[in-house]
Every structure is written in structure tokens, then in C-alpha cells.
Assembly symmetry: C2
């Protein structure tokens, strides 16, 4: 399989990105070709540092980088030679099957949506974040692609999240919850109340509203929300986990007895750090575009990039997109007679 | 001072509520009168259990309780003799200066808004949640009163949050951040982009967008968002904190060495538990209504109710409402010439 990596985007640029590419090539023999898209001299310098001359690497030179201050759609129009745009072009031309970017999320979403288009039946793509629950993992969609979503977009996210959970995460009949501000059916915003009705009528395994409270107690396998709320949830979770570990460290340093205790219990702290570390979960698939796009964390380390490339490889193997097209078209067929009956 | 407690609302009903009332009466001599509103026999039974015959208590009988499945506005119209409505009536008649409720949040917001009305210049009230940051505390507004907010509502929340932070939390010139999904000025939803412009033009100490990432690292003293997002943040934080402590406990039990470590470090865990425990922060003031209303957590323990009554007492002492009216009117005066100039 062939994957294109935006080798410039992200808070730390080529060092972490190329470092992750090197790790991934060592770990995943199923990658036949890895395009590193960006400034050739910088990429070559990093490869030299890692003593890497893997023949599966092909550098694709590009002269521009999307800045975090650039507008998402603007960046596609104005920076035609940006690393992310050029990487998407490789997918468009059929030279790569997937793109991975740790850069400006909005720019990656805009470039893939404009150049590759959405899948038939999908209006807006959504980012699926994989998160740890008490005993397992769950998928939160949309984690930030679409911050002004309409009800039909959320319905499509529910379908795409279910398909991804079934085919990639291995859940047989994924349960779906709608993120709201009360678990009772009638609670929520105008938007979620409308989506609730659509989900209730659908063939999905819909379990009703869920609240922030329930998120990590294994309530459902797919959590549906708009991209603004999803992005806030994702970043808030990171923030709370980081803060608690920091406060705990501070408290553990306050006496010699506590420090001794911390030393004895250090393996437990390491396990928690691993469980709450986004790097382990790799990138987040952007579902609904006609191609495969994996969004990696802006602050990705080499390990995170390696795992994002693993997620890209899994998505290629599992053929998620044809399944999405099939399920959405089945949903639309069941809706058509209902809608004409309601008219 | 005189306070009315809804003695029926909340997940655990009279036992925790009356228990909290008893604790508060012991701790706060400044409370002259505490109305316990609800079913007299149940309230009396709880008081007997606590051997409490404090003369400052007055039971106000009511025959109905708002259920979690009731509609918010509906509950005010249909359950005229509910404990929360009757408690609000006491404030309306001037017999109490504040109401505390751990019941259906929407019902408490609706009852106070309909019966007491909003303050001059305020369109919709907002819930101010007090949360711990790395070295201090901050105020998140709106934490769930108004799930379909418009830009002007968020602007009013920023003003009210600033007033509360100055007069109750003691911040001299509270810094204000707008919760968004990117720290750059141009990022956000249609709603937050509009609010950004309004905040930028205002005299508030506005610091720009903040993200979920930054929440606990002391970025700002007032965080502004709509009630849907705020409620999700609040509940997600609780959920993450609970999950991490649970996972940690599980990991610490996995070997005798880790258990010994946990024993030595137990004081550190207790400190973290206290810092992340909502019970310590008490209730959340509903700002913008013409009266004082404190929203307590649905699952409030007696300790949480005691602290909610403390927050009510502080709000009465600090005269927050006249300050809100003054600041909003000052803001509106500066906006009037600007708006006519823009026309």
C-alpha cells in the first residue's frame, strides 16, 4: 500500500514527522511506498540523521506550508504548492491510497473535501477520534471537521461512526449515543433534539442521549456530536488528564514518605500515562471523503506519527469507504418513502 | 440572611438535602432563617434523624416534585406546587434572599426566570461554574442554562462572569477567554466568531480564544461559552477525573509492591480527590436573574449542599446583582453610539 505523509505540518515540523515515518517503515512491512511531501533539503537532512535510506521512501517536493493563522478554504486556493495540498493531490491521482497530516486540521479537511470530494450521500466529512473507556475504546465523531453542523450531518456521522466501529474496531453491532446535556429524550439543544428523532427512526443501534458524565464508563461505542462540541471534548479530556497527573506529581513530591510510595507504585503511573496518552491511539480518520485522510495531533511525536500511519494502513485494509457508501444509501432508501409519506 | 432550600430536588431527595441544611446551620451563623421547601413529613423525619430542632428552620409544605423527565417551562406551568416553584415564590415575596436547588436544572432556571425575571439589560441567565485550575480557580459561564445561545447572550455572560470573578472570587481585573476550537482569532463556529468581535470591542479584559487544552493551566479567569458546550465541558471533566482515579486504583491494586506504594502516598491521592471533587466547590450561581439562585449538583451529598448554601450566603453578602446591572448598562451605553455609527 502507498501512503502520502505531509512532512511539514504540525507544531514540530519535519523532525517528528520524518522520525515517525522511519519508525513506521520499520514496523509495517505492508507499506510499499511512503511519499514524504515537503521541503526536500529539510526532509533529506532528517533522513540522514536517522541513517535511513529505505527505498520505499519517495520525497515529493513542495515549496509552501499552511500556517495555523491561514484560513482553511483560503489555504487550498492560495497555497497550491503546500505540503498538505500536494499530498492530497497524490491521492487524487491514484498514486497514494491515503494521506496523513499533523498540520492545520481545517486545511487538511478543506483540501481533501475540495480535491477528493465527499462520498455519495455524504454532505460533510467528520473526524472520528478513538478514545479509551473503562474497559475498551470508543469512537467520537465529529471531533472537529465541521463546527456548524446541521442535523443531517450528525445523522451521517452516526452512520459513518457505526461503519468504522464495526469494520475497524471490531464491534458487531455498535451502540450509538447522542452527546447531549441530559439523558432524558426531551433534553438537549434544538439541534440535538432534531437529530434524536432521526436516530430513533433509523436502523442504527441507537441508545439515546448520553452525557459527559457517562463518557468513560463504556456507555456506547459511537458518540455523535457536532465538530465544535467534539473538539472541545477531545481537548478538554487531554487537559484534565494532564492537569491531574501534574497535580498528582506535585502532591507526591511534598514529602519523603510520599516520594517513596510513588517510587514503589511507579508502574501503575506508567500504565495510566500510557492509557491516557493520545500518541498511542495514533491519528483520527476523516470519514466521508472519497479517499483516506488521517488527521494526526498537532503536537505529534514520532511515536504518534508512526501510529497515525498504522491507522492509515488499517483504513486501507478494511475498505471503510465502500461500506459507508452502502450504509448511507440504504439509510437514504428507507428515508425516501417516509419523507414522502410525511409530506 | 434568609435562604430557601428546595428540599426535594436532586438524585437522593430529602436525606442529603436536609443533611446539608443541618451542616450549614452549624457552620454559618449568618443564616438567620432557612426555609426547607417540600413534603413536611419527609423533611421532619430527616430533621429528627439528625436530632435537629434549630429554630432558624421553617418548613414550607409543597405537594409536588419536578421529575427529570418533565419539560423545564412546562414544569413551572403545570406543577405550581412543586418544591422548586414554592422556593422561588419565597424569593419573589421577599421572604428569602436566595434559593438553592439540586433538582432539574432547567426547571430551576425556568422558575426563576419566569417568576423573578431577568435583570435589566440581561436577555438570558447563565450558570457560572467555579472550577480548579493549576494554581487557582476560574469561572466557566454558561454551564448549562441556555443551550441555544445567541451572540449577545454570550457577551452578557462575559460581563456577568467578570463581575462575579471580581466581587466574589476576588480577581481585580478578570481576564476573559472565549472557548473555541483554535486559539487563532479567525477560528471557531459562526457563533463564536461573532462573539469574538463583540468581546474585542468591549472594555473587558479579553484575551482571545482559548481551547480545551488550556483550560486548567490558568489561561484566564473567566471562560465564556454557550450552555450546551459549558455543560458538556463540566460533565466531561468530572468524567475524566473519575475515570483516571478509578483506573489508577485498579493499577495500584495489581501487585503488593504497588499497594505498599499507594499506602505510603495516600495523602497525595486524598489531596487530588479533594481538588477534583465538585462537592468542595458547592453550587453554581445562576447569574442574570433578579434574585439569587444557586444550582447544586444533582448527585449532591450533604457536604455539597452545605457548600451550596455557603455560595448562596456569599452571593447575598457580595451584592453581585447591582454590580451586574451597572456593568451591563455601561456596556450598552458604549455600544449605542457605535451601533448607530455602523448603521
Amino acid at each position: 500500500m502507498k501512503i502520502a505523509l505531509d512532512a511539514m505540518g504540525g507544531d514540530f515540523g519535519p523532525p517528528n514527522l520524518v522520525g515517525g515515518a522511519v519508525l513506521a517503515l520499520r514496523a509495517y512491512p505492508q507499506i510499499d511506498k511512503l511519499f514524504l511531501v515537503g521541503d526536500t533539503p529539510q526532509i533529506e537532512a532528517e533522513l540522514t540523521k536517522h541513517h535511513c535510506n529505505d527505498r520505499r521512501i519517495e520525497i515529493v517536493h513542495s515549496t509552501q506550508v499552511v500556517a495555523m493563522t491561514d484560513g482553511a478554504v483560503d489555504s487550498v486556493r492560495r497555497k497550491k504548492d503546500s505540503s498538505v495540498s500536494r499530498a492530497v493531490d497524490l491521492v487524487k491521482k491514484g498514486e497514494a491510497a491515503a494521506i496523513v497530516s499533523a498540520g492545520h486540521t481545517g486545511a487538511a479537511v478543506a483540501a481533501t473535501t475540495i480535491k477528493l470530494r465527499t462520498l455519495p450521500g455524504i454532505d460533510r466529512p467528520g473526524i472520528a477520534a478513538i478514545m479509551p473507556s473503562e474497559t475498551n475504546i470508543f469512537c467520537l465523531i465529529d471531533a472537529g471537521a465541521n463546527s456548524d453542523a446541521r442535523a443531517e450531518h450528525l445523522m451521517q456521522y452516526a452512520i459513518m461512526g457505526s461503519v468504522y466501529s464495526r469494520h475497524v474496531l471490531g464491534y458487531k453491532s455498535p451502540s450509538v449515543g447522542l452527546m447531549s446535556i441530559g439523558e432524558e429524550d426531551a433534553k438537549g439543544s434544538d439541534l440535538t433534539k432534531e437529530v434524536f428523532k432521526m436516530l430513533k427512526r433509523s436502523a442504527l443501534n441507537f441508545r439515546g442521549n448520553i452525557e459527559g458524565h457517562d463518557l468513560f464508563g463504556d456507555p456506547v461505542e459511537v458518540v455523535v456530536c457536532d465538530g465544535f462540541v467534539g473538539n472541545v471534548i477531545l481537548k478538554t479530556c487531554e487537559s484534565v488528564a494532564t492537569a491531574i497527573m501534574k497535580w498528582l506529581k506535585h502532591e507526591l513530591m511534598r514529602s519523603k514518605v510520599r516520594m517513596a510510595g510513588a517510587f514503589l507504585a511507579q508502574q501503575a503511573f506508567k500504565a495510566i500515562k500510557k492509557k491516557t496518552n493520545y500518541e498511542e491511539y495514533g491519528g483520527m480518520p476523516l470519514l466521508g471523503v472519497n479517499g483516506i485522510c488521517i488527521i494526526a495531533h498537532g503536537a505529534s511525536t514520532a511515536l504518534a506519527i508512526k501510529n497515525a500511519l498504522r491507522v492509515a494502513a488499517e483504513s486501507i485494509e478494511q475498505q471503510v469507504n465502500p461500506h459507508i457508501v452502502e450504509e448511507v444509501s440504504r439509510y437514504n432508501e428507507t428515508q425516501a418513502p417516509l419523507e414522502s409519506a410525511l409530506r
